[in-house]
Symmetry: C2
Subunit: 224 residues, 2 copies
């Protein structure tokens, strides 16, 4: 099974670089959060809201991952201490950020001045679950219009998440989404994960998210 | 660049099997449509609506592609002539249907009795653009809550599409989506593609889609 071996080698090489990234981040006491979701679920909106709320309290850097374009980096560039755009381009690298891309991006960042690094992954519920980046926390956003069956159909990405965000709560009256059923699916896959119900548009529920992020950064800063 | 060569070999092997699939489908005069979108954009809903409307007029078979679960196949199984579920499982095969999976599925299908094969790809805007399956038409669904920037951020899948469907038009009053801007982006990438504005929920605009599908099947049946 030559093909399988090669893929295992790619994943193994990725793990090695991810460990190196984590060591570098730890040396500088930077907490890294990998934010993953389907296209259009609200990764950039969540980052923008988080920047607006926390930029007086924390020095935040952003890595924006996209197959093509710089539209997301342009949206956040005035709010963050440092922003690096990664364009993943063609297959197979296109379907997820990979640790080697983060390693390059970190070279361009003034890590000593940074406490929180938000990494916006490529919009995809499949590939990013396989490639760790050296992050400390993994966050998955699911938005109401996608439907409540996403944990059943894309289980792997939810199994590993430290937090799951249900976004676009403002659309609840207009779409079919059973929040209790979604929460049951998540609890079945990953009982320890935090679940947040928010709307990046109206700000509903977003305080709890900020508090959680601040708590993670504090825990990281005081960790031995 | 050994890794690149291997990937090229995978894509090349996929093309070879895809050509074989197309020959088999052509022999039986089956028109195959590959339906692609981000997770939760409405692939299954579109297939269900199409089955309900066209099942008296055409014999339709379905291939359902999912990373995990059989929820979509269960939804359509009473409406179609034949349904095959493919679970793509783990990486790298998980992020798209591939031609070899379709080749297996076609072995389980009574192709002589079928005029239209609807293939629901895995929910992903990246990988399915790289793997052809032997289909005759490629359709991409973009739904309003995902935002109007998807053609800019995931151009490749739109460049190859024979039809682009804007779904969830019923949510237009509640989300920020500039239809003219979306249409301009599509026209820039792929000026020949058909664009449909529909709501699978309310049925808005869906007649034009059925008519287009019927026209494609008729053109295929009379082709030499």
């Amino acid at each position: 099974m030559k093909k399988i071996e090669i893929i295992e080698n790619i994943l193994e090489a990725n793990e090695t670089i991810a460990s190196r990234n984590k060591q570098l981040l730890d040396k500088h006491r930077v907490l890294a959060i990998n934010i993953m979701s389907a296209p259009g679920a609200g990764k950039t909106s969540l980052i923008l809201q988080t920047l607006k709320k926390l930029k007086g309290k924390l020095n935040i850097a952003i890595i924006e991952g996209d197959v093509a374009s710089t539209v997301d980096a342009e949206k956040v560039q005035n709010e963050a201490r440092a922003v690096v755009q990664i364009n993943t381009g063609n297959m197979p690298e296109s379907c997820s950020l990979m640790a080697a891309m983060i390693e390059s991006a970190l070279k361009d960042m003034p890590l000593d001045g940074i406490e929180l690094l938000l990494i916006e992954n490529v919009g995809n519920l499949i590939c990013p679950s396989e490639f760790t980046l050296g992050e400390h926390r993994r966050v998955v956003i699911s938005s109401l219009p996608e439907g409540d069956d996403k944990p059943t159909k894309y289980p792997l990405i939810f199994i590993d998440a430290d937090a799951v965000i249900i976004n676009k709560m403002d659309l609840l009256p207009y779409v079919d989404f059973d929040i209790a059923a979604f929460r049951r699916s998540i609890a079945g896959l990953n009982p320890k994960t935090e679940v947040f119900e928010i709307s990046c548009k109206t700000g509903e529920g977003i305080e709890r998210w900020y508090t959680w992020v601040l708590d993670q950064v504090k825990a990281n800063a005081t960790r031995r």
